[in-house]
Symmetry: C2
C-alpha cells in the first residue's frame, strides 16, 4: 500500500534517535576507500554527509524550532550553509564525527522531549528564508526526511565506487545511476 | 573526487559484514508505520527489503559463486526471484528477519573466507541467465552494491511516509521524489 502518514511525534522520534547508530553501523571502521570519495564537484562523500548532519544539529533544526516556539517579532530562520562541513570537519576523523553526531543528536532530542510539544505548538509557524511560512510540524517532518535522505545518499555514493566493477550487472542496480 | 574503485576483497567484505547491523540500527524496534508501507504495487517496504536480502543469502550470491568456482559443464545461474520474500516472510516479525539475515550473512561470509579467493579465481566466469558471462569479481561487486542499494531503498521508502507532512520542504528533499 502506498500511503502517506500524518506526522506523529513518537514515530518521528523513533527515526531521529536511530540515525546516529545507523551511521555508526554503516561507517565505523570502514576503509577510507569507501568513506572519502564523492559523486563529483559540490557533492558529498560519506564523511561529508556525516559532517553535514552535525552542522544541522548545531545550527538548524533545534535553532529553528526555538524561533518558532518563541513566536517573537522576527521568526525568520538563518539560511542553512550546506557546505559548512567542508570547514568544520577539517582535521577530524570519521570516528570523531560519529561520536559528535551521536552526542549532539541525543542532546537535541532531550531538548525536544523537554518541550512536551502540544498539537497546538506543532502548528505554530516560522519563516523560512526561501520557502516562506512553515509550521513546526513541517520542520520536524523535514528533519526526519533529511536524516533518511542522507542515509540513502551515503549508501548511494558508496555504491558508485563499484559502478564499473559490477560489469553487466549495472542495469539491474539502479542505485548506481541515481 | 569522483573515482571508481577497482574491486578489492578486503573492502568488499568490510561492507558486506556491516549490512546486517546497519539494518538492525535503522529498523529494530521501529513502529510498523515505518516498516510496512511500500511505494506502490510491486515495490518493497522496509520489511520486504529485509526479506529480499535474506532470500539472496539463501539462494543467490553464494550459490552463484559456487557455480563459478566449480567450473562445471553447466555454469548457468538459476534466475533470481525478486518477490520470493512475499511468501517466505509470511508470519515472521521484523525482529526475526533481522536475526535471520544476521545469521545467514555471517555464515556466507565465513564460507567465502574459507575459499581464500585468489586473483585468478576472481576472474573465473559463470553464465547469468539474462546478462550472459560474468566473473566472480563482478558477482561479488554486485553483492556489495545490492546491499547498499537496499539500504538506500529502505531509507527512501520510509522517507516517503512524510512526503506530504514536510509541506514546502519537499523541493529541498529529493529523496521524496526518487
Amino acid at each position: 500500500m502506498m500511503t502517506h502518514a500524518t506526522f506523529d511525534l513518537v514515530n518521528a522520534f523513533a527515526v531521529l534517535e536511530r540515525t546516529p547508530a545507523t551511521f555508526r553501523a554503516l561507517l565505523s571502521g570502514l576503509p577510507e576507500a569507501w568513506t572519502t570519495p564523492n559523486e563529483g564537484p559540490d557533492t558529498f562523500s560519506a564523511f561529508d554527509n556525516l559532517g553535514h548532519l552535525i552542522h544541522g544539529e548545531r545550527t538548524d533544526w533545534i535553532a529553528r524550532a526555538t524561533i518558532i516556539l518563541e513566536q517573537g517579532e522576527n521568526r525568520r530562520f538563518e539560511p542553512y550553509d550546506r557546505f559548512a562541513q567542508k570547514r568544520e570537519s577539517v582535521g577530524k576523523t570519521l570516528a570523531q564525527l560519529l561520536d559528535e553526531f551521536t552526542e549532539l543528536r541525543a542532546e537535541n532530542l532531550e531538548t525536544m522531549r523537554g518541550w512536551s510539544l502540544s498539537e497546538r505548538e506543532l502548528q505554530l509557524e516560522g519563516e523560512h528564508p526561501a520557502l516562506g511560512r512553515v509550521t513546526l510540524e513541517q520542520l520536524l517532518s523535514a528533519w526526519v526526511v533529511h536524516d533518511l535522505g542522507h542515509i540513502a545518499q551515503t549508501a548511494r555514493v558508496m555504491s558508485k565506487q563499484y559502478r564499473e566493477a559490477v560489469g553487466p550487472w549495472r542495469q539491474y542496480l539502479p542505485v548506481l545511476d541515481r
